[in-house]
Symmetry: C2
Subunit: 205 residues, 2 copies
């Protein structure tokens, strides 16, 4: 059945072309300005075709946000080399923030925009496995810290959430333009200054 194999391959190829075009346009012009017609234009197909490969715009951007998580996961591979749990936790924060600052639109899609989450709720199995996997990694690292005597008197789950929130808070305020209120020469550097303060705090716990 070589023919149907090729057909399936071609179908997959077109799916990838759609996603590729969507990604380029998204990184170039943002979510709102990346329209179905724009994407279709770029791959020289008619707009209607996209709906034979994706349920709706949300599904396209959910697929794209998966790319982002893959990218983030790749960056986090270096953490395997960091033995000390607290050092690993700090390195995780640095990588997380570096990713966010270097890929603000992708971070926005992954952790701020409603599109991918809306798609998850529209589909049958409604758990956010991409975010779940990343959070599990953070939780495990914090657990390892606790096993070594850090964070005494704290609860694993709420503390993990708090630590995630801290780094997410900084980058999302930055990405969504709320850092103008900061008095300082280095307005762009405020996230890194904040992270340093955070490290100082972690050392005290």
């Amino acid at each position: 059945m070589g023919i149907s194999d090729r057909k399936e391959r071609e179908k997959e190829e077109l799916r990838e072309k759609i996603l590729g075009a969507a990604k380029v346009l998204f990184l170039e012009k943002g979510f709102e300005k990346t329209s179905i017609r724009n994407i279709a234009d770029r791959i020289e197909y008619s707009p209607g075709i996209l709906y034979h490969y994706f349920r709706d715009k949300n599904e396209i951007f959910h697929a794209l946000h998966q790319d982002g998580f893959q990218q983030l996961l790749n960056m986090m591979q270096v953490l395997n080399a960091v033995r000390d749990p607290l050092e690993r936790l700090k390195a995780m924060g640095s990588i997380y923030i570096t990713f966010a600052i270097q890929n603000p639109d992708m971070y926005d899609l992954m952790f701020i925009k409603e599109a991918p989450i809306n798609h998850i709720h529209d589909s049958e199995h409604d758990d956010w496995k991409e975010g779940g996997g990343t959070f599990n990694y953070l939780r495990d690292t914090i657990q390892a810290c606790m096993n070594e005597g850090h964070f005494e008197g704290h609860q694993l789950e709420p503390l993990s959430f708090l630590i995630w929130s801290t780094v997410h808070g900084m980058v999302s305020l930055q990405i969504r333009g709320r850092c103008e209120v900061i008095k300082e020469e280095n307005k762009e550097g405020i996230v890194n200054s904040g992270l340093e303060e955070f490290y100082r705090i972690l050392d005290k716990l």
Copy 2:
């Protein structure tokens, strides 16, 4: 000049009617689904009229986000009664989070959505005075804490940003549906559990 006075009053009244209708629709159906035509319908005027009172949709929602800051400021009035700076800081966090959880759409508009910030950048004097005022209050409170010996070894501005980021991070993850990853019976309660962990940390600093 009684007539032009009345005219001006009427103009102001229509402006308020527009804002009122916009607010009702926004809290009812959200930002995207609140259209210029919807607002015009509700006050029984034609859509075009809105553009004689506001430059664009962003300006309408910037005005609305000002309402939100007024509301938040009102809630923060009780802080004047809290003498101890660290207690005041904690109470501030509680109020901030209570406001966000009770008014998620308004919080979203104030601290996450791009509309009000975009309008600020479009207008000539481009500083976010609403956010600035609130942040100043936070900074002053943290300064007062430091004057009493807390937070030794920390820098005022980055630490203030970090603390803001922590509470913002928690509520924005909650509002934007990223808390599904939390393992726990009380998924809604995670923000409060996180806040408790945060208080525990503040006490150690």
